[in-house]
Structures are given as C-alpha cells and as structure tokens.
Point group: D2
Chain length 154, copies 4
C-alpha cells in the first residue's frame, strides 16, 4: 500500500518529469504511469527523433534518453517504497541528489515503430546507490534496447 | 595523408551528420571538424536541452547522444584511415552497417556550460567491430562525461 | 532438436572448457550443463577464492570470470542453434574466433555461499557479434551479480 | 606530501592486498607500488592463468581481476589523498565499505606476454562513490585491456 506522502511525492515527480523538464518536452516524452512498482515512459515516433532518414529509425540518443529517465524514476520509486515514514522534506532532498553515475545501453534492434515504451527493475537497492535494468520495446513488443544504470539516490 | 576518396567520404559523412539527421538538427549538433584523425562535435546550450530547471544543466540524454555520435564518427574515420585503396562503394556499404552495439556513459560532473565539445579515440580497431573512448568537455575545459562505445563497422 | 554435429560440438566444447582450460582448473569451474538452450557453470567456494578474509566472500574477479565464461558459452550455443547445416569445420573455425569484446559486471550482493551457479540469455544474436546477459546466484537462490557481455562470434 | 596516517594506511592496505587476500595469492598478484598517486599491480604469466592453451594467452577473468583490484586501490588512494585530517579509524571504516558497484572491461588484444601491469586514474572522486579508468599493459607496452569501474567508498 502507498501512504499519502509516498503517493503525493510520486505524483509530483511524475508531473515534473512529464511537464517541466525542457528536454522531455522537446522529445515528447510521456510519463504514462508512475507508482511504487515502477514507471512506464512512452515516446511517440515523430520525424524530429529520426536518426537515419533512409531507415526511418529512432536515434540511439533518444533510446539512451528514455532508458536513463526510466532508470532514474525506477530507482527513486524503489527508494520511496523502501520506507513508510519518509517526510516530504526528506524525499525532496533525496530527489535533489538523484543523478546518473553511469549508464550502459545495449542496442538490440533498429528502433522501428510508432510508439516506444520504457520500463525498469531495480537490481540493487541501496540507501546511497541503486542499480537498475531497463528495457525499451516498440508497440509490437519488439525489444529495441536494454539498459543498465547506476544512480546516486542519497 | 588523405587520398581523394577518403577525403570525399569523410566530407560527405560530415555533411549528412551535420545537416540531414533530423535528431541532430533538433538538438543543434554541429560537426565542427571531421578528418582521418577524428571528429569534434559541438553543441551549444539552449533552453530546450535542459534536464533540470533549477540547476540549468544539460540533460544526460543529450550527453549520451553527443558521445554516441562522436564514437560512431571516430570509429568510421579509423576504418577509412585503415586502408588507402577503399572504393567509394565499399565505404558507402560500410557506412550502412555502422551502428552502435553498446555504449557506456560515465557522468562526471553536472553539465554546466555554454558550449560542449565531444571528442574520441579508437581503442580497438577491427574490420567488423571497433571500440572507442569518448569525452565531453564544456567551454572551460571541465570534463562533463566519458563514454565507451562498441560499434559495428562491417 | 539437436542434430549430431550440434550435439558433438557442444559436448566437445564443454569438455574443453571443463577440463582443458588451465585457469578453469585453478578455480574449480565446472560446466554442469551445456546444450542448445544454454549453459550452467558451477563453482564451489574454497578458501583460495576468497577476496575478503573477514567477510569470507568470493573475490569479485571470480564472479567476473564465471560470468564471462557463461556469456561466451551461451552466445556460442546460440550460434550453434541458429543453423542446422553447420559443418564441424565451420563450427571449429567459429570457436577459434569466439572472444569477449566487452563485459559489464554489476555486483549486487557480497558473494556469500557454498556454491555459485552462472546462467545466461542471449539478448542480441548476430552472425558476427552477439550480446548476452548473465546472472550468478548462490545455492540459496540469492542473486550475487548480473553481467552483460558483447562477444565476437565470427 | 603524505602525512604519517595516510602513509601508514596505504602501506597497510598494500600489505593486505599483496599477502592476505587468498585469491590474490592464488593468482600471484603483486602490489608493486601504492601511494597517493595510485597503484601499480603486476602479475606474471604462469601456466595456471592461461585461458586458451593453443594461443597461450591470459584468461579474460585474470584481466578483469587485475583491473578490478587496480580500480579499488586507485579510488581508495584518491579518498585518502582527499583530506589530510583522516583518523586511522575513519580510514579503516572507509576500507570496510570499499566495494565494486559495477565494472566494465574492454578487451583490446589477446593477453600475450610474460608480465602484465595494471594502472588506473580516478575520473570521478566522490565522498560516497568514485569512478576509475584502468589499463592493463604487457611488458612490451601493448595495451591488453581497458576498464571502467564504479566503486562505493563510504
């Protein structure tokens, strides 16, 4: 179960990442779902995101961006879920320190499709550092890329 | 020394990456220099590239994008430099297969600055697969990020 | 179904990796299962493999070794499985070129336990390069580490 | 300049890593130099370290082990160097938490040679997490491998 502080924090973070990050707006990145179980980040193909005009595929930098955002939001959800007695101030302070330390992207297939969805799973949950594995699929369920990211969470 | 086919190929590739990749245009990515020794990719800060409005820093996805482009162009320059008897057709065919297999980004400092420059060095030069190390600096010479990428080149 | 050439090849490779690689003998690495579906590599804890005498845990280099071996054997099984008309000579020649290009290890928990088992899944299957994700668990099912490896297969 | 507590700590750590880590003894790993500027880890080729009997080359797991040890010792030296007022107790406590979070190894050339030397450079120095780039060369100066590691330091 989610308590009100956890719920309010995740809703607020989702709003910020959905509406108030200029680069997310430029790309059209959409935080479709965000709760204690994780996140679903969606991006619709549009001409400006293309990396290869002959093949009409997503630029690898867009893939990396989505996976990085998924990883950060997933480990932050894991941190929020790890305790029930967080204060809003504590969580805001943790959000300030949230940052990517390193990111690996494995490109599996050309980024063909109309809509891409990124999801993730925390594989190491720490009080300071967490590690996440991420995936990007297109609307037909093809795996486009995997990611592995190490994040500062405190 | 660069022979005419090598020179013409790199000039054409630079033009394509500079002007005809929609996502590069969206970001404002500029191929400042491209020759047999490598590449210099420049990006100027602009509001749309910001990842954190409070800190006014470059989004990590922009960093990953620049490093990935630098890596791909650097290993391709290395391939072009590896033989003097390339035909234009061979090189065009190699360019078609050029692709990122995997990419690691190490984020060292917040992406503060007005202009960011990416450069790279081939660390493993193969006929099928090459590996590159990349760096991103701001206009004051601060290291913003390192990258390591494995690329298909044939 | 496995044809005789596939079967014979995997059995021979398992024997070599199990008995004829000096470093595997030094560590006590055991190829417990090897078929077209993948591999199970087992290592029993022994005093010489310890990395920290106070904590009595497996050295991270042993973890990296097991994951690397698992990745190489898994992508090779995938290559063997990808065609039914391999000749023995073709497969021997492929085995000669089998090599790790890059490897990422994510250390999740201290390597406590009596017996460790490594398994893997091919995430990108190519004719030249394949990518694998690997896992190491102890005998109680705890995840000790994840790995991601890019391998030359041709 | 090194103060006595820094000097004593590094000398003690070098002794432990040189003599009291069972897996280092098994491999014959030698901490040749360790000071505030970094570390030099040396390993001599011997039959038990071979990964491929036909090619007589170092097993990739040995390479990963040396690079991981180099990374850990390098970031710890950086931590010790970062303050002059460490107490011995503080440093011992930091040493207890020292651990690899993730490691990337890029295999550049087959591990041919009689003696291999690993060195490293801190690329991100933090109070909790540090990142290091490592290199392995043989006695003729050939680059065998590069590494990148993220380490918990507090």
């Amino acid at each position: 179960m989610t308590n009100p502080i956890q719920e309010q924090t995740l809703r607020r973070v989702a709003e910020v990442f959905d509406k108030q990050v200029p680069f997310h707006n430029l790309l059209g990145l959409d935080i479709k779902r965000y709760d204690l179980d994780g996140v679903e980040v969606v991006i619709n193909m549009k001409p400006e995101l293309i990396g290869n005009i002959h093949q009409q595929i997503l630029h690898g930098g867009v893939t990396a961006t989505v996976l990085d955002v998924v990883g950060g939001l997933t480990v932050f959800a894991g941190l929020v879920a790890s305790r029930e007695d967080w204060s809003i101030e504590d969580l805001q302070s943790r959000l300030q320190t949230l940052g990517t330390i390193d990111l690996r992207v494995d490109y599996l297939r050309p980024g063909r499709g109309m809509q891409f969805t990124g999801t993730g799973t925390v594989i190491r949950a720490g009080n300071r550092v967490s590690v996440c594995r991420m995936e990007l699929h297109n609307e037909q369920g093809s795996h486009i890329a995997f990611g592995t990211g190490t994040y500062m969470v405190g």
